[in-house]
Symmetry: C2
Subunit: 488 residues, 2 copies
């Protein structure tokens, strides 16, 4: 009796299991067929043949209207308010300490919250960081700046970017027109993903790796890593280089920079040789749990979307929090509110250490200046300068990366804690230097409670900066646009 | 044609969906029946009737042999070497700074890595922290200590624990025999989970919550929270109390302690009023992602196990890393190696800040003593003492919790970073106090490179401590055991 029951139970299990297998096979086949149909239909509907270098995004738009129209949405800048971010548009106004931290570097003049890809070229012209060049050979920035702004550079860097980078950015004002777009990441003939930027290819080569062997899933991050990485301008030719030779952690890159004795600028107050972190987005993402599990940038920032049965990657690159149903919820079963709060919680915990670090590091730069003023010697200040360099690199690395405190919360918290550690050690060391020079009181702190006050304190003439920029925008840029239009 | 296709497709979808629903209903029913069968079989096989307070675990063992035998495995202490933990058995020998951090508190004498539940009573007798009481009314510890060591206390605390706690621990040496076990968490009549410790019930009450309304899943954590929490001994009666009235975060509890002006001890070097964190395991776990997603302590530390078709909770409570196949892998599809490394990575990142914090806080206590020696006044030291209290609370809270850096990595890193911040701020403040008292040099650091050197530095006579303990173990404890045996 017992035995019979068992057999009948086994039979049913087998039957049900077979049904389940058949069902899932059906699902898989159906999905494969749908996908193939989509690809075929896209390529059958090509209206223009594109070959060679084509920087104009609207030309691609003829063939791939869905991707193009979603890409055009990167013009929208309302995504931040969509999910209640507290980050203001003018970051220096929100955090005047950052003006002091960047004293001696153009970032102290102007640092706005990042906008979508569509604004890339416009923003590089408008930013006070790029100055107001009235002629082709006026700086301050080199043409290297364009590398992450427009596919127009591809026409000039096909056989190497060395020569291009040596020019000032104003030299190409009439050529650099189309914002970051299709040709930056796609082969025009078949729309396969491709790496067009030399710096990334060369960084792989120096590590003994061939980027051409990357899988499709890796490419869905690597195309982003063409720009969203830490880099520096090597030598007088301002050759864009990724400091990855020893690895991609914060310490690996610091070792690299230390070894070649590189610094981006000498701090105007403390005289510390500072490395300005760019945006090590890819590196930090790779160190977090999503990166470790093989989730690509595109999985969350360009999720699949369906329109009329056609599935395509949404090219409106933005925060996944603006579309949780198509991003987080593909894997996680929690509610939108829960998932959003999970992200905010990570950001809050990192921000706590960040805020303390900014406060202490700002004081340290100001106190270091005070020590110089009191007659401190280079030998006395050696340890201080080193600590300030280390602290600021950690601060900037942890803060400059977009979304870092979500991509790799533990890593970013570790980096910021380490930065705070060095900032306070620097202050301790400065107090000893001051004591040696006969001062044991409190170092007077300037009023840097607003961006304007902080900029005045570090000696910037912002009225002149703005007036120069206005003249440049009114006279030079219209000439560039006119010339570009005539060529087209 | 198109329409027909659509209808046929809809029909199939409906059919397949129905099949899937039926299949899952079957699964659920089967699972329910299996579970009921198991419970019935367990209760039908009861050999002895247990009612009232029964502290002897082996009596339960008669009825529930699987649970009992797995519980007995908590005697094994080899689980640490099983997964390559670097934590030594003698934590003070591994980290002599901790001797200095606890100067003035019994923890500076002896702190071994925790062992399994089976060792609870034995370890409370052997530890140098409990002294060597040669009579019933000798301390140093009160009977409150037993609260988390044995179900034998239940006989004395049924109608309230107030009176029991006021006695010295030696007064009950012959009564406290059975290590943490069955009756601590189970109703003997039906083995339902129950809360037996007053402190937890009262903490809920003061927050306006009724612990009796907890769900089964919540109970699978709350029974652990009877001991694995932050608590303090309130007043002269040493009444065990959880400081949860304002909430369960580190700051909530600090506010609670500050408001009632509580400290566990005055630091023997710096004279700071220190709160000794116990082991806020439950609180930290609740703040991490697993706790937030409703995973209970038992889910990972007492996973289900099958023996001969009977499914039961493994009572060999230990690190989930020792049984990844039954813990992490129930939800996560990665390999054991990957999952283990994910845990180690979190621990490493927290350890980095912890190590720095211990180094700096140790220096700060030593420097504070130096400031007192140089004639610093109470008024001058006020800020320093406050910073030291805050720093040490953060350090101890982040470190004392078992598994905290995995349970809630971001929270623990935040707490440790905040602790390091305060330690360095304390050192800065001390350097200012020293300067006011005419000293601007480097404070000389003692040699505390080993546990023995550190203990000698803070003035402990360890030879005497060990000799007293040996005499106690040779004379008093055998009397206790003899008396207990005769009663039984």
């Amino acid at each position: 009796m017992e035995n019979k029951k068992l057999k009948s139970w086994q039979g049913w299990t087998l039957f049900i299991a077979s049904m389940a297998v058949v069902f899932f096979l059906g699902l898989v086949t159906s999905s494969l067929m749908e996908r193939r149909a989509e690809v075929v239909s896209v390529f059958n509907n090509k209206r223009v043949e594109i070959t060679g270098i084509e920087a104009r995004n609207e030309v691609f738009g003829e063939n791939y209207p869905r991707q193009y129209r979603s890409w055009r949405n990167t013009e929208r800048t309302d995504f931040r308010s969509e999910f209640n971010s507290s980050e203001a548009d003018d970051i220096l106004a929100e955090r005047p300490n950052m003006v002091v931290l960047w004293a001696g570097h153009p970032f102290s003049k102007d640092y706005l919250a990042p906008r979508g890809h569509m604004h890339a070229v416009e923003d590089v012209r408008v930013s006070l960081r790029t100055g107001a060049p009235m002629s082709e050979d006026e700086g301050p920035q080199n043409a290297s700046c364009y590398s992450c702004k427009t596919p127009d550079i591809l026409r000039f860097t096909e056989d190497g970017a060395e020569e291009f980078y040596t020019h000032k950015w104003a030299a190409y004002g009439d050529e650099m027109i189309n914002p970051i777009g299709c040709a930056d990441c796609h082969e025009p003939e078949n729309m396969n993903l491709q790496i067009t930027r030399h710096a990334l290819i060369e960084a792989f080569e120096r590590q003994g790796k061939d980027i051409k062997k990357a899988t499709l899933q890796e490419m869905r991050s690597l195309v982003c890593a063409q720009c969203h990485v830490e880099y520096y301008f090597r030598g007088d030719g301002k050759y864009i280089t990724l400091p990855w030779d020893k690895g991609i952690t914060m310490e690996d890159m610091e070792n690299y920079y230390d070894e070649i004795g590189f610094s981006d600028f000498i701090h105007a107050l403390s005289r510390a040789p500072i490395i300005k972190a760019q945006h090590p987005d890819y590196e930090i993402a790779e160190l977090g749990i999503h990166g470790q599990r093989g989730v690509s940038c595109a999985d969350c920032h360009m999720p699949y979307k369906s329109e009329g049965g056609v599935k395509f990657s949404d090219h409106h690159v933005r925060s996944p929090l603006a579309m949780i149903d198509r991003t987080c919820q593909v894997c996680h079963r929690q509610s939108e509110e829960t998932l959003r709060n999970n992200v905010y919680e990570r950001q809050r915990k990192a921000s706590e250490t960040r805020n303390r670090l900014e406060t202490e590091l700002t004081k340290a730069h100001i106190e270091a200046k005070y020590a110089w003023d009191k007659g401190a010697t280079q030998a006395q200040m050696q340890e201080v300068l080193q600590l300030l360099r280390q602290s600021q690199w950690r601060w900037d690395f942890g803060v400059a990366s977009h979304g870092g405190s979500f991509h790799a919360p533990q890593e970013v918290q570790r980096i910021l804690a380490c930065g705070l550690d060095r900032a306070l050690q620097a202050r301790l060391a400065i107090s000893k230097v001051l004591a040696k020079n006969g001062f044991t009181g409190e170092v007077p702190m300037p009023d840097i409670s607003t961006k304007e006050k902080a900029q005045a304190y570090i000696g910037l003439n912002m009225d002149k900066e703005r007036a120069d920029k206005a003249r440049f925008l009114e006279t030079i840029v219209p000439q560039w646009l006119e010339k570009a239009k005539n060529v087209e």
